[in-house]
């Protein structure tokens, strides 16, 4: 990556040959941060809706089945997390030359592996523990 820094001055506009991965230099202000009121209001309104519906579903006991309710409110949570990422954290695939998105994807992959794997493994462990042979439990005082 050292070639990126061979230009000693901030003349981003002149020579882009060396500028792979930093294409967004011209788009941001001095802070690298752009927020708009519309984005925040949009995100807020969506969040309120996406929060209110799960609370209503659970508190009003709208759906009979617990499993169905769980799946629906988990889906709402997933959508709301995306809304927050896009409208509040201003996440996009271009930010920081894609490294922000890449690290997020890496984290999500790790998270899913750990979460699904743990639930899966521990679910079986519980089942096995309940079937524990009698003589192993009688060793306790």
């Amino acid at each position: 990556m050292s070639h990126v820094h061979t230009q000693p001055h901030n003349d981003f506009g002149h020579d882009h040959v060396h500028d792979h991965g930093h294409d967004n230099h011209g788009d941001h202000g001095s802070d690298g941060y752009h927020a708009t009121v519309q984005d925040y209001v949009k995100g807020f309104v969506l969040s309120v809706i996406l929060t209110a519906i799960p609370f209503w579903l659970v508190m009003g006991k709208v759906i009979e089945s617990s499993t169905a309710t769980s799946l629906v409110i988990l889906a709402f949570a997933a959508v709301q997390i995306v809304v927050h990422m896009v409208y509040f954290l201003h996440l996009n695939s271009k930010a920081e030359g894609g490294w922000t998105m890449l690290s997020l994807i890496f984290t999500v992959v790790l998270l899913v592996i750990m979460l699904v794997g743990s639930i899966w493994v521990m679910f079986h462990l519980n089942t096995n523990l309940m079937d524990m042979p009698r003589h192993e439990t009688t060793q306790n005082p």
Binding site: G29, F44, S70, L74, M114, I119
Partner: protein, 224 residues
Amino acid sequence: MQSDTSTLPMPGGPIRGGGAPTGVGTDPSPRFYDDGTHHPEQGTLLGFWLYLMSDSLIFAVLFIVYAVQGRAYAAGPSGADLFDLPLIAVNTAFLLLSSITYGFAMIAMQHRRKGSVLKWLAITGLFGLGFLAIELYEFQHLIHEGAGPQRSAFLSSFFALVGTHGLHVTFGTIWLVTLMVQVNKHGLIPENRRRLICLSMFWHFLDVIWIGVFTFVYLMGVLP
């Protein structure tokens, strides 16, 4: 890093690629190609983002513990017995409102309106304090009822997860007050703007974690 600019390769032939000797010549004196002005803030923001990603792994582990142990009541009270959903709804509203008021502080920062930034930060801080007050009340109430962290695996994992989130909000609030003092004293200088952006990421990140908490712990916890 203050390099002597007179030793830097000068305009004329743009230096392409790494090492093409055009224009650099034979001057043997040391050169500092990165004079620190390349992108002064991008590095911090990416680094802070990586911190947030590692922090979300901490929360991931706590969520996993709760997922595994969340129904291990040890003949004690369950979520349906303990959780007060209207209170949680108020808490969620506080955190959501604090997110948008922090957003307004950032908008004011972009327009370099110091007074407005301070006002919105103060409102955000009050929502944060309101959130913490309700959470502490809830914890105190649970412990008073004998449903403290030592009661069951469910309650241990509950207090670990929700308490860690609450600690983050506490530190976020302290950070916010510190920044208000800084902005008040030094104005919206680049350093303070960078810090405000970092705190905005932190604050919104906590709201994202809370989405998981209220859905996974509270709402799913009271389902039969």
